[in-house]
Amino acid sequence: MNITANIKMADIIIQNHHLLSVINRFGIQLGFGEKSVDSVCKIYNINTDFFLDIINSFNDPDFFPKQKLKTYPLNLIVDYLYKTHDYYLNVKIPEINSLINELVESSSGETANAIKLIHKFYNEYTTQLHQHIAFEEKTVYPYILKLEELYNEGDEEQKKLFVSNNKFIIKDYAIQHDNIEEKIYDIKNLLIKYISPEDNFILCFKILGQLAHLEDDIKDHSEMENKIIVPKVSIMENSLQNI
């Protein structure tokens, strides 16, 4: 189903509760009554088209309007990416961590040892994710925002100065932007294939569900960066360098 502006906001959440995490990062609170998507977006001062493209790409894995997404200002996309970072670091990662902790504590013998290994692997992954996010927030995003600002409003002198003072180019980031979700895939796989916590399989299912959710989310996030941001920034960089 393609979500449109006049559908009730409540209905899209009832139909797919995973979308709760998306409306949450746009700052939308529950209790929207019978209001449509468009009305809710207006209340929260959100670009409805952008919201629809994001929510549809979460709702339908095949939906990714590359060309249309490229038409949005970068600051809008970057602002959204900041919010997804916040969601990963402050909601999802701690949530899964405490579930794995619970699993370690309720297991014994060999299973407990195996889950401890998974926990260590998970911690290693979260450290990597923290570093990755810190790099984006301290270096990449501020660079993009400044570049866009100058591209739109800067005079020739400012643009020249920016190009000569900046050693960073988006291509460097694209190269080192490895598949951050691969480790989650591995953790899931190890849990499914090689660990059998017979006594607490429900908890294990819960962890797997959460990991899959995070994995999908991060995939969408990376796609947005690789297919929208990187090409768009490259065009701006070229234009500035050719002055």
Binding site: I118, F121, L190, K193
Partner: protein, 200 residues
Amino acid sequence: MENITIGILTESYVISRGIQFIISKNNGLSSHIIPNSELCIKNNIVENNINLLIVSDNVFEEPKLLKLYKTDRNLNFGLIRTKQVSLNSMFEFKIDFDLFDTESIIKSKLDKYLESALNSNKLSLEDSELSKREIEILRLVALGKTNQAIAETLFISKHTVVTHRKKITAKLGIKTISGLTVYALLNSIIETYEIDELNK
């Protein structure tokens, strides 16, 4: 244990018999002495279902043995050091005896080999479809070795290492080195202390 047969090939019948005597004390292990005059070692190995060949260092340095080492991937090698020269450390021996080892040391080295051989057999037959070679490569990957280092250790090309790694990932569904390390630990392909030593 019944599926492990040890072949013994030295220049000295006395040494070969001595090793065979100690092996025979280990229940269920069969061994077979290959005469040094044997021209076609390969046939002898196949006919006797030998999967571990214990060779003395002088014999190992002969071209026919070096060739066998490089070409027969299913055969494990053990070494008996009879002279005070060191072989190229690139060679990998599953057991490393010294001519002057006591009986108890020889026995403990044999036991250690058997334990790891049985574990790896169990793994390849029951728990996964990894071949012995793939397990060997997985072990080195899990210990943090680069493709280049693995290629040098196993005398294969870097390209072959990459092919094996792709197969390992396809079979296990594990893509990252950390994931493979956890798998290797879970299946006793490596032990925790080996990782700890690396981190020292």
